[in-house]
Symmetry: D2
Subunit: 141 residues, 4 copies
């Protein structure tokens, strides 16, 4: 399963050189991670409120291939790159809609957390029902 | 009472024209509002956790006099402009440290809220002890 | 003429109370201002590169009616509120798609600027061809 | 050489769980990269305007050890992790001032770019004078 989000690069995303200021890519990637869960029927707001589960960040990275510029339409494809007992790696491939050239390749390693006590977040095994949903969504599946 | 915060304009604050992207001013103003409360001995985190009180936004505005540019040091002076039973207006005067020229004049009208039920925020009278602290901090006082 | 943009409130837009952190509204409003110009056939990137004209900010404001929350779909309607020789006021009405309740009413007063010399921005009369396009786009027109 | 920046976590840095929204770390890291250059006598604004050189991003990453929370004071130590003909890796170590516990370890791989033609950025060898300054600033040096 792949989730695809399109958006347009806006003035406020640019730096003084007229190219995307790189923390913006991480904002979009975070949003696409949430929408990927949503596309699997897993609403993160409900997981939190009803089951005290959130997928926090263990590690993130981006490689930058081409700069994003004003007004370009971009496409972000999100898919599972790896799935383990407690962790999930999402890959986010950001491309220029025009020409399909890759701009950025982002990774988020997310860890399943028990957030019952917000002041003391604990890593936990991904519950079996969620694991099954994520497992079926893997590209190889 | 006036609270003064200094900061430097960074690359990530700029737009493609090389001047500050205006939502950044609001981020700084929000931060300076919190530090103003802090300077009065009112920690917003504790007001929330211990008394279920937060000062939410009813209205904000900024007038822009001169653009902020890379690397400039700015000074933000925050003071109470008005105080009523439920509301407080903070004025934030943002100036270039070099030359003391005004860049931005911002206002935040904040309203006292009972946040016991996060899904149903309610306006409330500012409690007497907080009102007294704020009243003493007014410039005329 | 009214330009309408829909978007969804994302995790990264929220503050610790679970409601939209208000500078985000200004980021969206700025984007909707650009898209409003675009809908009139005025691409801001081209105005800048080809004619050295940008519409900078003189004043912005927002009034907050209801908090935005995770995952809500919002609709932002942008229209001209006032048009003068050098300035333009855009009104941005932000509503919850579900129920059509107003969340935020934002204003941007933008001033026409000659940006030939980025270090010395100058206010200027709105050129006649642009003024005519903006004038026809007024709600009363 | 190590450059140290201290800052305080503000309300607007938090997500709905009350911990820092991770793209904020990248904004701070970017700023600390600029301040690191500055501490070496290399003002990025002048490198750009006078020599058409900027250090763009090839890759960034962060590992998250502990969540940042409201009002905490953090310390960001920046140093050179690697230096090659065209590229530079900066390491940013973000710690809680109280207790000196690591929160985040960030890396930025920056590539020297000729920005004479903003629409066609080109990688280039780091000029000898800049390379010498960076080389002397390495921790081993």
């Amino acid at each position: 399963m792949e989730n695809i989000v399109e958006r347009q690069i806006m003035w406020g995303d640019l730096d003084a050189l007229g190219i995307v200021f790189y923390p913006r890519y991480y904002e979009w990637i975070d949003g696409c991670g949430h929408l990927f869960f949503e596309a699997l029927g897993l609403n993160i707001g409900r997981l939190w409120k009803e089951r005290n589960i959130l997928f926090g960040l263990a590690e993130t990275s981006c490689r930058y291939f081409r700069p994003g510029r004003y007004h370009q339409k971009i496409r972000i494809c999100t898919r599972i790159e790896a799935l383990e007992r407690k962790t999930l790696v999402l890959q986010h491939d950001i491309r220029n809609v025009k020409g399909d050239e890759r701009m950025v390749l982002g990774l988020e390693k997310r860890i399943c957390m028990d957030v019952s006590h917000p002041d003391d977040l604990q890593a936990m095994h991904i519950p079996a029902d969620l694991f099954a949903i994520l497992d079926r969504a893997r590209p190889s599946a």
